[in-house]
């Protein structure tokens, strides 16, 4: 842990896991969708369901979906902000198997009808982990710049990703591969030490078999 994980973050209370972490989960879901959703169905599991309303977890998740960061003073009134932004939502309590106690599953829809389903957990101290995208297991925190490529499970995609990144002199910190079944859909997730350029994204989007390329910039570090 670096010293600003001990002193910090600057955040809207009352709980780093139930409030700040929840904002980050909403925010990263928005980044995965690529825009502010018009509809969100949010399943709350475990402690999120049990003590979430007293900790403002619901308002925090909505705030994140609107693009707010954990220190945004508008978090307590995010419901009004969501209505103003044209975001409709529904919360449902639920039970997940083998999930961290502070977990939410957000199914969000963009204006053009695209939907994405993100399962993420709040680990404590405001840190989060994305566990699933569209039912496929993934594991990343969003603390570093992250490249998410959804592709058909065919040879060559990983080579293309590493080539595109190395051509831009971007060092890969971690690399993970997941798929639903052999020859089905796969996710390749690269966390990098420096920002990923637009060029890398467009290069990968042109590749055959690549369905979707998502870039998540790291949170601004002062």
């Amino acid at each position: 842990m670096n010293i600003f994980e001990i002193l910090g973050p600057v955040m809207v209370g009352p709980s780093s896991s139930h409030t700040a972490g929840a904002v980050r989960i909403g925010n990263i879901t928005r980044k995965i969708l690529g825009e502010t959703p018009v509809w969100a169905e949010i399943l709350l599991h475990g402690s999120f369901a049990a003590t979430g309303s007293g900790h403002g977890t619901d308002r925090a998740l909505l705030a994140g979906l609107l693009g707010m960061e954990p220190d945004d003073g508008r978090i307590p009134r995010s419901e009004e902000e969501a209505r103003a932004a044209g975001l409709a939502w529904k919360f449902i309590p639920g039970q997940l198997r083998d999930a961290h106690p502070n977990t939410a599953v957000l199914t969000v829809r963009a204006a053009d009808g695209r939907t994405v389903k993100v399962q993420a957990s709040s680990l404590g101290g405001g840190r989060i982990m994305v566990n699933q995208i569209d039912g496929i297991r993934v594991d990343f925190t969003g603390e570093k710049p992250t490249l998410i490529v959804q592709n058909e499970d065919k040879p060559g995609v990983l080579a293309a990703i590493t080539y595109a990144l190395s051509a831009q002199d971007v060092n890969i910190a971690t690399l993970q591969l997941y798929r639903n079944q052999k020859g089905g859909y796969a996710f390749t997730i690269a966390e990098t030490d420096s920002d990923i350029s637009e060029e890398v994204l467009s290069q990968l989007r042109e590749m055959k078999g690549v369905l979707q390329v998502i870039r998540i910039a790291s949170e601004e570090e002062g």
Binding site: M1, V12, T19, G54, H55, G125, G222
Partner: protein, 285 residues
């Protein structure tokens, strides 16, 4: 990349003739690959955010549950008008701690230090001390490095979350960090900083995390007060030359052992302790 023992930090202070603050600063520069200016800028942001949070306290606010709010106003009025037991300086410490913790419960912006639930402890000692001793922002930031360095070792050897180690890990750690920061601000060296840290942590060892209805409100708000007051008395003891018989690293290890032995009902589940009392049970959301 972070320290695992206070002995290691003290060793570097001795060998390199550096202050506790410098050792932590240099480690942060290396760890996050930033310049001294960038590191200080970020620390100053934390300090400014703490002060802003204190200034913006609103005694009219109530938390969503209705359990927290307005006590900070009562404390301020009492210490301003009555011949209080603690006196005006300690009164300001108590008041700031309550106000900051209430602001947190009411969804205002605070600085987790080390957690949101214990966010009142450090500002409650630093803000009144700054005024009383005429300290600069720079000096306060140096003390915050000391606090963060202590917290880092506590997090590495034990824990700083109530869910894993009980309240001793949150308010206890915050108090130990604040005690070290105060010792530094009043001229104490690495040894006094570690003594202050150890004395503060020992005094709160065993404190359980038993929040009513699982919310960061009862008893968390008032426990910020004891964390702050305990930091002041621990720092004063260390500055007087009083040593902790048990070295700070071993105190932290003992805190870990105590936390691990703590029943799950006493680790932020809202099932035991005050949460399980008849009155505590009346709170439902």
């Amino acid at each position: 990349m972070g320290f695992h023992s206070l002995e290691q930090i003290c060793g570097l202070c001795r060998e390199q003739k550096k202050s506790f603050y410098q050792v932590i600063l240099e480690d942060d520069m290396k760890e996050r690959d930033v310049t001294q200016e960038a590191s200080h800028r970020k620390m100053n942001q934390m300090w400014q955010a703490m002060q802003e949070a204190a200034r913006e306290y609103d005694p009219r606010l109530k938390s969503a549950s209705g359990l927290s709010g307005s006590d900070g106003g009562l404390a301020a009025a009492y210490y301003a008008s009555k011949d209080s037991l603690c006196g005006s300086f300690m009164g300001e410490v108590v008041t700031t701690a309550i106000q900051m913790a209430e602001s947190n419960a009411c969804m205002r912006r605070i600085v987790a230090a080390p957690t949101a639930g214990s966010c009142g402890v450090l500002p409650a000692v630093l803000i009144p001390c700054r005024k009383r001793f005429g300290l600069s922002d720079r000096q306060i930031c140096e003390a915050l490095y000391v606090a963060a360095g202590l917290g880092q070792v506590i997090a590495s050897r034990a824990f700083i979350a109530g869910a894993t180690g009980g309240c001793q890990a949150e308010i206890g750690s915050a108090s130990a960090m604040a005690a070290g920061a105060l010792a530094y601000l009043r001229g104490g060296g690495a040894e006094a900083i570690c003594d202050a840290c150890a004395i503060a942590l020992k005094a709160l060892m065993g404190l359980v995390c038993d929040p009513v209805a699982g919310l960061v409100e009862v008893p968390c708000v008032k426990r910020n007060v004891i964390g702050a007051v305990n930091a002041m008395t621990a720092a004063d003891q260390a500055l007087a030359g009083i040593h902790s018989f048990i070295p700070a690293d071993q105190v932290i290890d003992a805190m870990r052992e105590v936390g691990e032995k703590m029943d799950a009902s006493l680790r932020e589940t809202g099932l035991g302790g005050l949460a399980a009392t008849p009155k505590g049970q009346t709170v439902r959301l």
